[in-house]
Symmetry: C2
Subunit: 187 residues, 2 copies
DNA sequence: TGCTAAACGGCGGGGGCCTCCGTATCGTAC
DNA sequence: GTACGATACGGAGGCCCCCGCCGTTTAGCA
């Protein structure tokens, strides 16, 4: 009794994921699952079988990039300049979120509707920044009451607000910089 | 030849708008136009006749509140403390955006896809903050390169990122405060 | 009261999401 | 090589939504 995944299933999974990446890049987070199925040459039920719910699909689509961002965070956790490390990472996240249509929605969605899922992108990212944030806070560069969730929320918000902008990356960078230094930082 | 709006049209307009307010409050910016029509007891074509496109409906729904916010801005343009006036207004906007489901999406939408429309909510709000911002900048409380569009974008982003949060208003306030004082304000 | 233009709303097309279920295919055991 | 069981597939149908068309009703003026 084979309890392994069948070969054709794996093939279809890969095909669907590949198509989904293109499709999400082109049409954002609300790309048509139906269309993805058609382009991939499978029935719509098969898409749903492999990815139960749009969130699951998006999660898979962004998975590699998310991992890469987490790895970057891990790598710079011992940097000499804790503040620079944190800001660099936030910059990277913002840039990626701006370049990858749909990711911001995906993050916002699972941050807010299912914050318990361990595999959720947002949770992973939060856990990844957390050490950077803590070190920055210890060095006094960041106020102690700022949480990782706050940072994720702010970046997500910036990405959402700039998503359909002419040049999302530039605008995102600009707004992030503004957020970092503060609109009106005098106490 | 009567080129005035007919009485029944005006009645229907009002009915639809009233229903739309409830419906948007309950289901957010992507409330079903079809459903609104059904509840209002009119054909779906009538809804679309009065409000061509979802954006138009949302605009109408939020119109009064937007006006009220603009009025508040006008009223405090001569306040002694320019910084406090600006921040107060931003606070008010954030609070309202958090309390009114759908408004953030609406703002983000017409800020980004049709920034030319004069009647668009976002444009009005931008024009309303502009004087407050200028005065705050002159007083040195805000860096001179900050634009009204930046502020709108940030608040919109915060609202979007907190919209489905458990307590959007509290979270929004928190994030706004963080944005005002800066994540890491050291130069 | 009659007439015209304005407004209405039902209807059908197109599309998306979801579920069910009969069928094809894979992998294995013989 | 074949036969069998589990696994995966995909088409069909239901439901909802958005949109545009167009025949019909109705308000408002003469």
């Amino acid at each position: 009794m084979p309890h392994h995944q069948r070969a054709d299933a794996r093939r279809n999974y890969a095909r669907i994921l590949a198509v989904a990446e293109r499709e999400v890049a082109a049409h954002g987070a609300d790309a048509s699952l139906e269309r993805i199925a058609r382009v991939a040459g499978v029935g719509s039920a098969t898409v749903r079988r492999h990815f139960p719910g749009r969130a699951a699909l998006l999660e898979a689509v962004f998975h590699e990039r998310i991992e890469s961002l987490c790895a970057r965070a891990d790598a710079s956790v011992d940097a000499v300049d804790a503040r620079a490390a944190l800001l660099d990472w936030l910059d990277g996240l913002t840039e990626y979120a701006a370049s990858a249509r749909g990711m911001a929605e995906a993050l916002a969605h699972d941050r807010l509707v299912e914050p318990e899922r361990v595999s959720a992108c947002a949770v992973k990212l939060e856990e990844a920044v957390e050490p950077l944030l803590r070190r920055a806070a210890e060095s006094g560069a960041v106020a102690p009451d700022v949480t990782a969730a706050d940072l994720l929320a702010l970046v997500t918000g910036i990405a959402l607000a700039t998503e359909r902008h002419a040049d999302p990356a530039a605008e995102g960078r600009r707004l992030l910089e503004l957020t970092v230094r503060g609109i009106s930082p005098v106490s």
